[in-house]
Symmetry: D2
Subunit: 341 residues, 4 copies
């Protein structure tokens, strides 16, 4: 676990960052950190930081895939995998204190390789018995699909195992895992999404969006991993197109702004995350957070907001396969009053 | 309950119907039926038909709004409402027999009036205690919002009750209720969505889509109502912009084709409906139906389909406020093999 | 559907009925009705009554088993079964009107035969995929267990299919199905439990208890069936020891007393039923009903009741295998204030 | 955090331990540890042990109440509480290694004081909106009930706040919290029940029962707290009668015996725990564990077991108010074949 932090100087990202709605500083150091299997983590919790950033800095780093890059060719079994969702991090953000919010602006995400992996692992999936919805059926068989990545066309190719059908799938790279150390002294597995973010499997963690996370410990301790080249809603069979990623993220600390659950925002839309079980409760969390966000920041009464959302909200069901399920409730800003000063 | 069926002759709808992917006959009689509060129904079940159609006929009819058009001006209380979701119908489709499928192609839907209604009715909604998620909290207060409809701009206007904020919402008219008589001698309330369709609150019941419903009784006995001018995903506060509608639907009987749950299709997409509680199970129903549809009609193996959907499926969570919740699982046809002959 | 009602005269059941806590009339006619497969029903709904009773009358009748008595010997397949849960009834109770409550006091239940049946039917059960929790697993195999009944020792004998283990199980006979015509013009399958009672699979429907059901239509239209000789909590594999039953029930109409969900009562205990999905909501229904029952009849405030139940309530989880799940929340009267007059 | 371990010598507990079904050594050292608020913990995880035991040793210790003994008299607000469920421990059990099972035999539990506390804390309870089932209702008001304990009659007294009703409740003291360090490097809040035990709120943690917990880290690291003098099923308002406890527990390590979820056993009964959300899945966990336990230890086939449990199993729904819900599935040994050697 070597500290590979390198200061690159006060690089200016004015083009990239100009006009952001979240009022970030428009410059910052670039901190580079290269992750390898030697220093990944498997829990979100308090651990020795791999690098430190100041608010406004840009982090350039990478992640291994959800299998620790262990599946490389046909026939490689899941038993080669050392642990699910190895995480890059933690990154210590100076000045971040419990009660603050961490804003992570996704500047760039690139698939870091030429192949993705999909796997059906017995006990994991929305349409089969699992550890938390166990049944007496024999498990479905383990299966692995390899997805060649074509960077020129920005696609991955699905190839059926039981027939010769294949089809190209456009890439939409994002982090399945991104989160901070949990509150209350908890440490949570890298397969869990919850209040601290984590394994949200949210395609919203992609270029153009800013992710807000509650800060629970000094330095926030940011982790990321579980790169996805593309994923269907619900991630129903248990995996996306799993890939290593390279990324550039700008990190800001919003002092004294407290949130309870992760949020996303871009120029057009605000998005609230609910991560729990059953989906009914994940949805209730996401929507009560969205109602309160709008009430607090945009000034509509709670009942007017409730009514308005019943007419114009959108729901993105991210996944129903992890220990908690993730629902994103969103609304376009064009339907809201101007933001309060 | 007067039979108002009128045969209009062999009107040709070649322009409208040419090129459909579902192979409908390209002509058919037009059957017109005008519904009023004197002959609405409040259950999906066996009842005297209001009109009869042949397979291939086009139905022109209308629906009153979810409140029976009882809420017209500020101050009108919900106590004026005689019953929820009054239904137009049933329509008897000649030749439809249990084990067949009814295909309802939505040719046209128009808002039939200049105002829509949104209501917060205590005990109804995703973020408050209800009859089926009861709690000890005092109920939230009854509230009604009126939405002026502007046909020129194709918008409805939300006006906040607790501030002077207003905003225009684009119209996307669809039937919240459309279904047939249930199987097994059941009769179900017009507020229930289930295997027979019903109160699915699916924005998919709109122009360009074909709805497939299982036929459970001779003649199928088709009903529709609960017009929506626009609705947010989840319909979280319990209502959409509730409006009367005028519609034109082409009805076909697919002999000997049996489905278990409603489905939608258009030129680009196939969509399977799950309607149950909790959302977890609604999602499982929708996706197992989608897997089996693809396996049966497009020839991919079930596990290949499961994997592919985990990468490219989309989920539309229609509503989480009715006695059953509705999830639509969908996939674009471009990701599938050619349909089997 | 022949009316087999026979008046037996003003038989006096003073011994049996004296001292009941529910204030029933202490005498009544005996109405006898013998059910056979020729006149069973498969839905709770409005149908021609098979007999009529006055409030206070005693009904002597019988039920076929959940398979219509079709499974009699090893090797009989489930395909012999015409329909699940054939119902005896309906019985028209004179004077019962919507808004009243029907009180059904269980005077006697006897197993009407020498053998019970247990079956594992694919798609039915708490630990395997079902119609409403579907999965991609192949179904578990159909299996049938026959249970010899020994009336002398009041036991049934389980005999393992895959080994030579056998064990005696004490009989606790009760009706899995008992209910009235639903509200709002609905008709519900005999496999469904809901507000109207129905397939509650409640061992509480046994001698010594009084069942209260809401009256939704004139005459109430009482049905019963699905006799169980004994059942485990949850009825997890989908069946109890299924048997025909003979019974004696005293029926009373409680005029102007309205309940929303079924209730049970005996000398010592009050019990409220919740029947919905998921179990979380079934429990919420049962407990909010119990809180309101205690508040209304025994005068404790709602929050005092909530607190007290958190210390002394009991929960009986009846079943998690039917289209709705059933939870009974109960409290011993010794923990309550005296009932209000 | 002072080590207060005291060896008492080879005290013999022959009377207490004779005839146990779980084959414990009938003697062991007594290790005494006195806990106070100065050294409680708020997470189950890896921490410095407060004492060390050998397999077979008896632990004599105590716990503060769920509020850290902060609520002592009428008017004391919940804001006095420093943290929920302060835990005594951890206790390091020598020789316990991941893959082993820890057996905790409850020899004695006594209420350690003269008063218990019940509290309604907004956001906590089965019949009101909570952090994980949030709604837009204003929270119910904070309320506290004090329960005098009468050691002579072994009762606590409920006193209504809104009337002058009071009633005595028999004591059944048990630990709401008992668990070990979780697997995979996780650390979990003392309000969470899960695979490692924890806040199960199981009245089964009482004298006469043995609790089995999976060992996940060297030494197992056993914690306990959240003493309850009595509790209703479901703990619906969020608290039991919360008390400090004194206890005597015998701890044994079952080498090489791996379990996935907590279990209980006494002379008559085996009991499997499921702890998750929704209740449906908690029940599935408990019952699949019970089926596999019986299949593995008693030799019945899985389907025979499934069938038998459907006839004779019992369910104890412990709580539906913590971050996970807890269901215990149980069966009397008299219904099972002899245990395999």
């Amino acid at each position: 676990m070597v500290m590979k932090r390198q200061l690159i100087g006060f690089a200016l990202f004015s083009g990239m960052l100009a006009g952001t709605t979240t009022g970030f500083a428009q410059s910052g150091n670039v901190v580079k950190y290269h992750a390898s299997m030697g220093d990944v983590k498997y829990v979100y919790g308090v651990a020795e930081p791999v690098a430190r950033l100041k608010s406004g800095d840009v982090l350039e780093t990478n992640t291994v895939d959800a299998f620790g890059n262990a599946i490389q060719k046909p026939g490689d079994p899941l038993s080669l995998v050392k642990g699910d969702n190895p995480l890059t991090g933690p990154f210590y953000i100076e000045g971040a204190q419990p009660g603050d919010t961490l804003a992570v602006k996704i500047l760039d995400i690139q698939v870091d390789g030429n192949q993705g992996v999909g796997a059906f692992a017995p006990g994991f999936g929305a349409l089969n018995e699992t550890n938390y919805t166990p049944m007496l059926h024999p498990p479905l068989p383990e299966k692995i699909w390899l997805y060649p990545i074509d960077h020129a066309s920005n696609t991955a190719t699905f190839k059926a195992l039981d027939s010769n059908f294949s089809v190209k799938i456009p890439l939409h790279p994002f982090f399945g895992c991104i989160g901070v150390a949990p509150a209350g002294g908890e440490a949570r597995s890298s397969i869990v999404p919850a209040e601290f973010g984590g394994n949200m499997d949210s395609p919203e963690v992609s270029v153009g969006n800013t992710l807000y996370l509650p800060v629970n410990v000094p330095g926030a301790l940011l982790y990321m991993g579980d790169g996805h080249a593309a994923m269907g809603d619900g991630e129903v069979a248990g995996t996306a197109i799993e890939v290593p990623l390279r990324t550039r993220l700008q990190i800001n600390v919003l002092k004294g702004q407290k949130i309870n659950w992760p949020r996303f925002e871009n120029d057009d839309t605000i998005m609230a995350v609910g991560a729990y079980r059953p989906l009914d409760d994940a949805l209730r969390i996401a929507f009560t957070e969205l109602v309160r966000w709008i009430h607090h920041d945009y000034g509509l009464s709670e009942l007017d907001t409730y009514e308005l959302l019943s007419k114009v909200a959108r729901i993105h069901l991210n996944e129903m396969v992890d220990p908690n399920y993730v629902v994103v409730a969103l609304v376009e800003k064009k339907y809201l009053p101007p933001k309060k000063k």
